[in-house]
């Protein structure tokens, strides 16, 4: 069975084409754009909320995007167990919609941070990470608000349920403050919901899925989704 991806386009999305390109050209997957004003998810098997600045993010990241007509459908899809991946701004939107727990604060540096960092793949037992071979990925981040925050009880729950998928780390996988670029609680770079069908991550896997762009460490995320869908 061939998986069909839908990439949501908000006004202000700017990683929509990048995500489309990777899925369509690099992974040869059927991919469609989903316009924010539409209410049709066009039979998507997997929905991706791409990076960018939806509606300019002048209010609070993702605060306006959650009211888009398409997002009602995405929420229904997600609540029915549909596979949803939110990257960067997409992660922020998922938090804003309470499809994932917690909130994003401004980076502790109060600056936009754009650089390659390392993340430890803390949980490889998910739909999104099972085909990732390496234990630590080198991957770009680019955000002002990636400082993940949640109450201690939520953090404990995330840990107990193995919902933390990616954590900022050293090149050798050491998770500590020293390697935390933005102040995230527990160095969280990506989390999954309890049911395991929704992943939000701040790093941009679509930016390093080709060796010409530095490395292919991001490709494992897409490979996992595609492979797990076929075997579903």
């Amino acid at each position: 069975m061939k998986v069909k991806f839908g990439v949501v386009v908000f006004p202000g999305s700017n990683c929509d084409y990048d995500t489309f390109y990777v899925l369509n050209t690099i992974f040869n997957a059927h991919t469609e754009f989903l316009w924010h004003k539409d209410t049709d998810i066009k039979g998507s098997d997997v929905i991706i909320l791409p990076g960018g600045f939806s509606y300019g993010d002048y209010v609070r990241t993702g605060a306006i995007a959650k009211f888009s007509p398409i997002m009602n459908e995405v929420a229904k899809f997600a609540n029915n167990g549909g596979i949803v991946l939110g990257i960067c701004n997409g992660f922020q939107i998922l938090l804003e919609m309470n499809l994932l727990p917690g909130v994003m604060l401004k980076n502790t540096s109060l600056k936009f941070i754009s650089k390659d960092i390392f993340v430890k793949v803390t949980n490889k037992n998910t739909f999104f990470s099972s085909k990732i071979e390496k234990d630590v990925l080198q991957i770009p981040i680019a955000h002002s608000e990636g400082n993940y925050f949640a109450e201690d009880s939520v953090l404990t729950e995330l840990q107990e349920n193995n919902q933390i998928v990616l954590q900022y780390s050293s090149q050798d996988g050491i998770v500590s403050d020293e390697f935390n670029p933005n102040g995230s609680k527990l160095n969280i770079a990506g989390i999954i919901n309890k049911q395991g069908n929704i992943l939000g991550m701040m790093p941009h896997p679509e930016r390093n899925s080709e060796s010409i762009l530095g490395n292919r460490d991001g490709s494992g995320i897409f490979e996992s989704i595609i492979s797990n869908f076929i075997n579903k």
């Binding site: 006004p11 990076g51 993010d57 600056k111 080709e210």
Partner: protein, 741 residues
Amino acid sequence: MVEQIVDLKLALEHGLTEEEFGWICDILGHVPNFTELGIFSVMWSEHCSYKNSIAEIKKLPRSGNALLVSAGEENAGLVDIGDGQAIAFKIESHNHPSAVEPYQGAATGVGGILRDIFTMGARPIAALNSLRFGSLEDSHTRFLFQEVVKGIGDYGNAFGVPTVGGEVFFDESYKGNPLVNAMAIGLVDAKKTASAIAKGIGNPVMIVGSSTGRDGIHGATFASVELSEESESKRPSVQVGDPFTEKLLLEATLEIIENDWIVGIQDMGAAGISCSTSEMSAKGNSGMKIDLTKVPLRENGMSAYEIMLSESQERMLVVAKKGFEKQIMQVFDKWDLHCEIIGEVTENGIIDVDYSGKSEAKIPSFNLVLGGGAPVYKREKKEPAYLSEKHNFDLSSLKIPDEIKTTFLKVFSSTNIVSKRWIFEQYDSKVQTNTVVGPGSDSAIIRIKDSQKAIAANTDCNGRYVYLNPKVGTKIAVAESARNIVCSGAKPLAITNCLNFGNPYNPEVYWTFSQSIEGMGEACRFFETPVTGGNVSFYNESPDSTVYPTPVIGMVGLLENIQNRISSFFQNENDLIYVLGQDFEEIGGSEYLRTIFNLVEGNCPNINLEIEKKLHNSIFLANSKKLIESAHDISEGGIITAIAESAIGSFEKQFGVKVEIPIQTRWDFSFFSETQSRIIVSVNPENQIEFEKTMSEIGQYFNYLGKVTNKDFEFNGNIIPISELSEIYFDTISKRMSHEI
């Protein structure tokens, strides 16, 4: 703005001269009304008319085999890169706005240059910049620096264009008047470009994008005088940027161009509706009748004068093909943007403006524009007196420092040399997934998807050199840009320029400007890199100082095959390190002189264009035979700095070296000489014989320096741990900004 009686006094207050006011009265056949005066004053400002520069600029080579559009004809230059594709690129200044409102000034500078690119029908694929500030030891400079960087980042990041490179230089001369030059590069199907033209009688004229407010009124006039104590009060002349709307405008604009529904389009930057209506009409030998009542406004009670002069951002003027209005409106509606028909193209050549049923202005479009009736002046030139004094300075009288290691570390920790990581980590450099080499290398490399090709780009200028020798200094700026393109493996294609100078009415400034243009022309002709366009920014003076003459070069090159790219950084332990090109111990105007002796003296280094071109060919040849692992040009800080940069400049893969730098007369001059036309390369030992043979055969001067190691930075018996060098290189600016040093 209250309507006032127009007389000579008011014209003078608008920045016009008595003579110009007379011409305006002659053109119109009567004294202009208030709105007409406003329109003339912005259109004839230096910023829009280039009245004091155009006679000189015309001397630059402005066409060439790869140029699809000659300089100045459209919003940006257009260069053929084969396979039916073209690159549109341009650099522009936003100095004065950034001096009084650094965040918005810099942000709207980026916004303006991006619009110049996508009005051509090109999708922006990369942004670069060139910045100048005073010393970071000064708190106000730190404020300007921080806000400018944030402004550039916030705009480009939200818009979704990768900021892939640039340069920053700190010097006291820029203290009161920082320079903020923004460059953008776009990719377009060569057959689907758009033109800034109005033609076809009866075709509808539309205003699209943001609504019009009172921001930026007289921005163009503000840019055409020196900064002064009163400049602070001009803060309302600075526009406010909205990258979100710009992103929507980009998508909508490209959609209507792609569908071929329009005749012409121009962005609204300086002088807003005045400039776009008159320039598009003049280009098409037509006129326009427009009704300002139809313009979507941001606030009530705006006068015709204010609407015509507003520089509200994120707007475009579109001349539609009659019959396609509905389709165009649907596109803008889809993107939630304004789109209103405000008039139509006429045949009488007049910009005819109505507002609320009243005629507000009637001006022949031709008389308003550059290349038409706008004034053209040749200013008086005089060689500045300081030059011979500087050139006669006896450099040999300088005391040789006692300590080699500490001297090197002091030069190496100059903010002009260390990594600009603090800056570029605030810029999204990877969005669009084309960035193969990002900031921090000699040139950025951007791949063209679905092809083997890539574009290389950089910005360059050492204002200190140009100050010491305007002609040679500018030649060096072009040569160094080209060298940086070559070091990435690409072939130089064309340049855009941003000419930042002082007051052109000062004969010494004008002489410098003229000499600089001469040097640029000579170098560009030699390298066959025509000037595709750019921007002149005069009046870069403040009560504190006049800036160094700073003709910034933005160069674009083409890599036919991206697999042939060259890194600036050493790649493997045990590789051999060579220098190509001979040293002449040129220390005038050097970073060494500035950091160790606090002097800006002597003459700038010499440049021999023949030798430079030969060097480029040597790199091409060595690269085509796969004989070199890295190439990095020698510039500020000399050979020792270049070796250190190649060793540790890639944060991810750092090496040590063991080298012996040849000393001619004095170690300090040999280490820190900024003699041009030199490149550090590294060579796999297996290729040593072939490399040396190849270089000898073509008569390229080269010298073996030593080896790449996995240990310390070891030069002429001195040892510095890599960790120490790396900390200086990568952390100096962030420490300065957080007051740790």
